[in-house]
């Protein structure tokens, strides 16, 4: 990719928005897994 000036930064398109949505989905999934491990007390193996 070629360098761009701050003034000439491309305008966010739909794919950037999709990436933000993907990031939110990853964070939500991580939160679910953390909460799941919390129920086991963070003890993975007997």
């Amino acid at each position: 990719m070629s360098p761009r000036s701050s003034d000439n930064s491309p305008a966010p398109d739909i794919y950037v928005a999709l990436l933000w949505v993907s990031l939110a989905a990853l964070l939500t999934g991580i939160v679910f897994l953390v909460m799941t491990l919390n129920t086991y007390g963070w003890k993975l193996a007997p």
Binding site: L18, L19, A25, G29, M35, T36, T39
Partner: protein, 286 residues
């Protein structure tokens, strides 16, 4: 952006959403197996404990049941023995029952006889009652007679007492009179007095025996007359010989019997030189 970048962005989006979905599903649908395992372990321990308790209880029940079984076995043996004994006793009682039935028949016969005997005794008792009634009446009469006799006896006792008193008084008077007569040299013997006041009846008799006392010179004669002819002590008889007609002497009677009498010859009135002998006559007529 290239087409590949776009595809990768799309793929990245899809996988992120899938990851979020799976994580959310795991979180919402998951089950805490550790808690379940702990719970099941505790339940298992409790069940094991309960099983042990029940096993101990079963063992205890088994021991008690065995003891009860032994006791029941012993009881069965005892009851069997008692049954045998009772069977023997039943046999003996049957024999006794038969014997008692025989005795009962005998007693019935005896009862019938006793009833007949009782009837006869009742009749006899009725007769005896009639006799008793007569005897009672006779007894009442005898009691009345006895009371009358008692009254008579009392009156006679009273009369006897009066007579005894009178007798004592008369004896005292007689003793006084005898002393008075003795002081006057008079006869005090009532028989002699009777002979003096009552003359002998006219009689003729014989001398039955004659004896002379060699020491005192008293002469005793026995004559053939007695009290049956009216002679008493003190009477004097004249002795004489009927052949020669001589007077022999006077005889004063000292003992008189019904058919004979004994007397002594009065010395002062005896004739001289005569002998009185058996066969001489005596008389009161002189």
């Amino acid at each position: 952006m290239t087409t590949v970048g776009k595809i990768l962005v799309g793929l990245h989006l899809v996988l992120s959403i899938l990851f979020m979905s799976f994580a959310g599903a795991v979180y919402t649908a998951q089950k805490n197996w550790r808690t379940v395992a702990t719970t099941q372990t505790a339940a298992l321990a409790k069940a094991t404990q309960k099983q042990n308790d029940m096993q101990a209880e079963v063992d205890k029940e088994r021991t008690e049941t065995k003891a009860k079984l032994d006791a029941l076995t012993n009881q069965i043996a005892q009851l069997t023995g008692e049954k045998t004994a009772l069977g023997n006793q039943v046999t003996a009682l049957d024999a006794d029952n038969k014997r008692l039935n025989v005795a009962l028949d005998g007693l019935r016969d005896q009862t019938a006889l006793s009833t007949t005997e009782a009837d006869e005794r009742k009749k006899e008792a009725d007769l005896q009652r009639e006799k008793n009634s007569v005897l009672f009446q006779t007894r009442e009469e005898l009691i009345t007679s006895l009371q009358k006799a008692s009254d008579d006896k009392f009156a006679l006792d009273l009369q006897l007492q009066q007579l005894i008193e009178k007798h004592d008084r008369i004896l005292t008077d007689v003793a006084t009179m005898k002393r008075f007569l003795a002081s006057k040299n008079l006869v005090s013997d009532p028989k002699l007095m009777l002979a003096q006041v009552t003359p002998a009846p006219p009689l003729d008799g014989l001398i039955a025996d004659y004896r002379k006392d060699p020491k005192g010179g008293m002469e005793y004669v026995e004559i053939s007359l007695g009290s049956d002819e009216g002679l008493n002590i003190g009477h004097k008889l004249t002795a004489y010989n009927v052949e020669t007609g001589k007077y022999l002497g006077q005889i004063r009677l000292t003992q008189v019997y019904p058919d004979k009498a004994v007397g002594i010859v009065v010395k002062e009135e005896k004739a001289k030189n005569v002998i009185i002998k058996r066969g001489d006559h005596v008389t009161t007529k002189f």
